[in-house]
Symmetry: C3
Subunit: 341 residues, 3 copies
Amino acid sequence: MSQGNYFEDFSLGQKIRHAVPRTVHHGDISLYIALTGERRAHFSSGEFAKGIGQRGVVVPDLLTFHIVFGKTVPDISFNAVANLGYADVQFLAPVYPGDTLRSETEVVGLRQTSSGKSGIVYVKSVGINQREEVVLSFYRWVLVNKKRLDVEVPTLVPELPSVAKVANAGYDFSKFESLQWATASGRRLADYSEGQRIVHGEGMTLEESDHMLATRLYQNTAKVHFDAHQMKDSRFGKRLVYGGHVISLAHSLAYRGLENAMVMGAWNGGSHANPTFAGDTLYALSEVVETQELSDRVGALRLKLYAIKNRVPDRSLVVKPSGKFDPSVVLELDYWSLIPR
Amino acid sequence: MSQGNYFEDFSLGQKIRHAVPRTVHHGDISLYIALTGERRAHFSSGEFAKGIGQRGVVVPDLLTFHIVFGKTVPDISFNAVANLGYADVQFLAPVYPGDTLRSETEVVGLRQTSSGKSGIVYVKSVGINQREEVVLSFYRWVLVNKKRLDVEVPTLVPELPSVAKVANAGYDFSKFESLQWATASGRRLADYSEGQRIVHGEGMTLEESDHMLATRLYQNTAKVHFDAHQMKDSRFGKRLVYGGHVISLAHSLAYRGLENAMVMGAWNGGSHANPTFAGDTLYALSEVVETQELSDRVGALRLKLYAIKNRVPDRSLVVKPSGKFDPSVVLELDYWSLIPR
Amino acid sequence: MSQGNYFEDFSLGQKIRHAVPRTVHHGDISLYIALTGERRAHFSSGEFAKGIGQRGVVVPDLLTFHIVFGKTVPDISFNAVANLGYADVQFLAPVYPGDTLRSETEVVGLRQTSSGKSGIVYVKSVGINQREEVVLSFYRWVLVNKKRLDVEVPTLVPELPSVAKVANAGYDFSKFESLQWATASGRRLADYSEGQRIVHGEGMTLEESDHMLATRLYQNTAKVHFDAHQMKDSRFGKRLVYGGHVISLAHSLAYRGLENAMVMGAWNGGSHANPTFAGDTLYALSEVVETQELSDRVGALRLKLYAIKNRVPDRSLVVKPSGKFDPSVVLELDYWSLIPR
């Protein structure tokens, strides 16, 4: 039986078409709402979504991300020690209930670690719908163990953009005046300013059941999330929460104050700064990095989203007190959000 | 960031249109079934629902209630200390998968407590579908903290009906003979008599994951249900189960013996008699208060539904042994149910 | 209130039409995926399902089984001490989202145990869709307590086939070449050989919330799964996981290595060898018993599926070290799977 790929199994330029395609349905969105508390209006209301130029309820961008990502796990990160980072994550087209998603990956970089026992695999993955449209594209790099220590792997570290291009994938905010009651906020691009910090004021405690339900929904099979028996002997002694679920929870907790920053445009980068476990309570803190005008009615807000555990954050939180992430910081996500102007 | 309204922020006659509208889908019903064990036949089978005059599977009345209620939380009860009661809750029209619900509220009463540190807010809330039909209407009153103790709030305590009007919102039981195999019971209005008590015989233990999944599904954001970290310092030292989930569990546990009392018509009143926590096991006990003939084929059964925790109830249970609810009683719900005659 | 049937309440030839019919929706499949991690391609992708001759996404065979089974519980096994076995379980037609299922049972055997305090009830149950097609048919036998010890029950032990007939219920694998990327495997019937053992390499830890969500989704009301308060005084002192959920988890964990053995054809027999509890971690081990050619393109693979708890199985595991199941073995399921030739 295939036990997944080890570092020496990857080669530069290698292309993988991942199993298993997945048709996304309304039921997946219901579950996503139940798992995260998501309440952005175009994921929740078909009427609202039509009001901003969509066909109906849109599949939450992060649900799409997790499904596309999950499919890459058995081939890319089944034996991963850590998911080190993301770059240039682009959300290129809305996904609707009924669409079928599949994933493809190309290996774009490889670098053995100094110990010689593991290596970093850099990949570009894409999510593709049943009309062969790329709906999502991202780079990530993971630390993967070697099995055969004697195998040499040539090194190539790719140059990845530190800021992703953000574009409007078909959102129309021209009727937003008449719809803004639905989001509980009239805030637009101009209401935010660089350096501003937003404390969102909600907290969510994570249970084992919650993160495992979420991770199985995405058909992500990484052992570290599911197998308490074997994780007893691991570094942390217990199951680890899928980092993507932390992103979803943080993004959902960041609703208040960013009600109209509804569309995920792109991620510039992201770090799972510290591990998250069942029992942890998460809070969200956002920082405005930059504002940009995309068109007459559409703006882009560049934000840093922090997930903080077991500590109610305030505006003055020092994320990296001594060059390293504070132990309470479990996520830093630098992303672009589309917002009405 | 808005931290929700405090007592002094409300004013008599104030009207609020709540965010975020929500399109209900089959997936929400699947989740509701998984969370509560609900098995009334018109929520479960489209064929059965058609047999009683519906377009197809009906959204469970209580799921509609929770969604409509959940939307009012950020504006009305985010800072509530307790949800004190309900009156005149009317279920006015069936909701179907695909319908989009929103909520509106009017403040109909205000009364400062004697301590001067909090006050009771009386509201009338309605749930409205995408055709602007009111599907649900209810009064509730909540105890809300004051933030600015020096602000005076004028008092008006509304007169609320102690018995709700119950009407038939479009159910046709004329073909019920041929359908009753589907409910496991042939009991009709005439099979019940005033004063009769029904012990339903099933129990359900609640987990943290269950009530949080349910409460997030309803997009209800009240802190007390989710944030174990901050709840450590609260009165109970832990998360509190959303009272509405207790109503749903009790109503679901009350299936056997009331199989054909399938449609929630109206609530006359309800009290969350004691708090419920994860780990508690709930049982249901029903008491027939009154029977009423609505039309040729449709009757109304007035019931008191009790949820009892950690104690298997029998018919002789004294709900209020000394004028106060017994600590094992967590819910008293006085409601009307439609049932074939 | 009916407290379910006791052994003396059953009679030979008795026929029961069970409440409550259930329309299956996409949302049920989403939940099934979230609860089990299921990823067989025709349950996951509508496009793939069409490629093998189906109308669209197929309802997972085991989800159908659990729903049909769950409906029989209130009448057959509400007072069961144990579910002793299954025989001749035939999956006769695919079920699609939107189909409505109901269950019927005939009592085909009765045998009082030597103690005189309980008896074994043998039933044949069928699942029927809204077009009156039988989609599932199975025998099972359960140990049920007597209430009135003085009542005599005549004995008849039915002869049940030890191997079920397996047929192709409409799957077309003629285009499988172009689809096999979607399953991550090109393995076909000829790639398996009798006696071969497959260690699937994934593990899943079970939480109370997970098995209760699953069991409620199937509207299965058996007390032992839900009522921790009363189970404190039972033999095990705690809730017992529904054996069907163990089958689903084991089957889902057995994906890798059996990616194309996608259709459940029939079960020859099955035993819940030992009980499973929340906190247990399950692993799967499969053994090839027999291979059979059904038609030009369709083969049948007879497998024994073992679920092992709290112990990582290897190929040499002795399932019955001394004639009895090893305590780590919780399931032995002997079944036929359809697979491309």
